[in-house]
Amino acid sequence: MAQANRSMEVGTGLFVLLGFAALGFLTTQLPASGLQLKRSSASYSVIAKFDDIGGLKVGAPVTMAGVRVGQVNAIGYDTSVYRASVTLSIDRRYARIPDDSDAAIQTSGLLGANYVAITPGGADTFLHAGSQLQFTQSAIVIESLINKLFANFSSNKDSGDDKKGSSDASK
């Protein structure tokens, strides 16, 4: 009787452990902005303002040379300059980022998620908490690219016809 009790308790314990491990895996490892177990909270925040953030989301990574150095903490809109204001939280380990660096919103892959890529500048002073990145590049929106392409096509076509017309006329 005690033997059956023992194995039942062990079995239940194993099951509950497995279940919570699975839950833990799903909530922390899987999502991009999952619950951070080891909150390396040693980070500092900087601001970057963009004309168009595209599909950038809170929690998107901030990279330098492709390496993740932080994440997007907040996205707002600055009504005084009519631009999007993005708060980047950068790990304290990367404390020597020149303050004339460039922040660009890029896409991972052709149709992937947006992230912020920082290209270092050459200044001697570095970013600290609260500084603002002066140089930014907005996201490339595919639709406007295509629009531009079409606009180019039709204007080329028009000027081509004009040339032909004028050459004919001159004959």
Binding site: G11, T12, F15, L18, A22, L23, L26, L30, P31
Partner: protein
């Protein structure tokens, strides 16, 4: 009886049943806290409902994940997006297949066992004997079983999901040759905490629903062998329909 009055009495029966189940739920919930005063009982039911369903859940999870991998690969390949297999499998499992299938499997394996256990105890006068010994059978028998299922189902769903993702990876990476890095990074990029939360909420709700139906049917079954058998069948059928209905409602609510 004319078909109109037949349909009316059927509607009234259905209404009455919903009311009866809801009232029973209140009674069971009221006894859940006192039932926790005897953790041994609840633990035993968590074992019955959860640990003993592990094998079927893990096997089903594996196969469902593998099928997702196969079908997902075939479908995505037509659009040149095989690299998104990880995302498709993970989201499909976490948001829908995990909670729903786990609940259905639970209803079939554990729900029937809960129902027939309680039904048989009723038929052999054990519940009446408890009443005569001044022990509330809802507190001693029903509430622990309800709690057992309620605790077990979300955990089972999480295990189902993890094994399912592994199964999808088995098919996608090992068999179909997708780069493991792509598989996992795409998944991690696109799965949000919100998705996982929705899945967990769903499995909690489904767990409560299936457990409640099982204990209700068992408690109110006709105290004969026939009656218990019928009640068991009703448990599975009603659980399945209710789970799918709740699934629609929750999915709509989340979107």
């Amino acid at each position: 009886m004319s078909s109109l009055s037949q349909r009316r009495s059927m509607a009234l029966d259905a209404l009455g049943k919903i009311g009866a189940v809801s009232l029973f739920l209140l009674r069971v919930l009221g006894q859940c806290i006192p039932a926790l005063a005897r953790p041994q009982l609840v633990l035993k039911q968590v074992y019955n409902a959860g640990a003993r369903s592990l094998v079927i859940i893990m096997l089903s999870g594996l196969f469902v994940g593998m099928v997702l991998g196969l079908q997902g690969y075939d479908l995505l390949q037509r659009f040149g997006s095989e690299s998104a297999l990880g995302v498709a499998a993970a989201l499909g499992l976490i948001k829908e297949l995990g909670p729903v299938l786990t609940a259905l499997l639970f209803a079939g394996r554990a729900g029937t066992s809960l129902c027939s256990e309680i039904g048989l105890m009723n038929a052999t006068d054990q519940l009446a004997a408890m009443e005569m010994m001044a022990v509330d059978p809802v507190r001693h028998v029903v509430a622990p079983r309800f709690l057992g299922g309620f605790i077990a189902v979300p955990l089972l769903a999480a295990i189902f999901n993890c094994i399912g993702i592994y199964g999808a990876q088995l098919v996608g990476v090992t068999m179909m040759g997708i780069q493991p890095g792509t598989f996992w990074s795409q998944m991690q990029n696109s799965v949000e905490l919100r998705d996982v939360n929705e899945g967990v909420i769903k499995s909690v709700v489904f767990g409560a629903a299936c457990s409640l139906l099982a204990v209700y049917e068992g408690y109110h079954a006709e105290p004969t062998a026939d009656g218990v058998g019928l009640a068991t069948t009703r448990t599975v059928v009603t659980s399945a329909v209710l789970v799918l209905l709740l699934d629609y409602m929750l999915t709509a609510a989340f979107l």
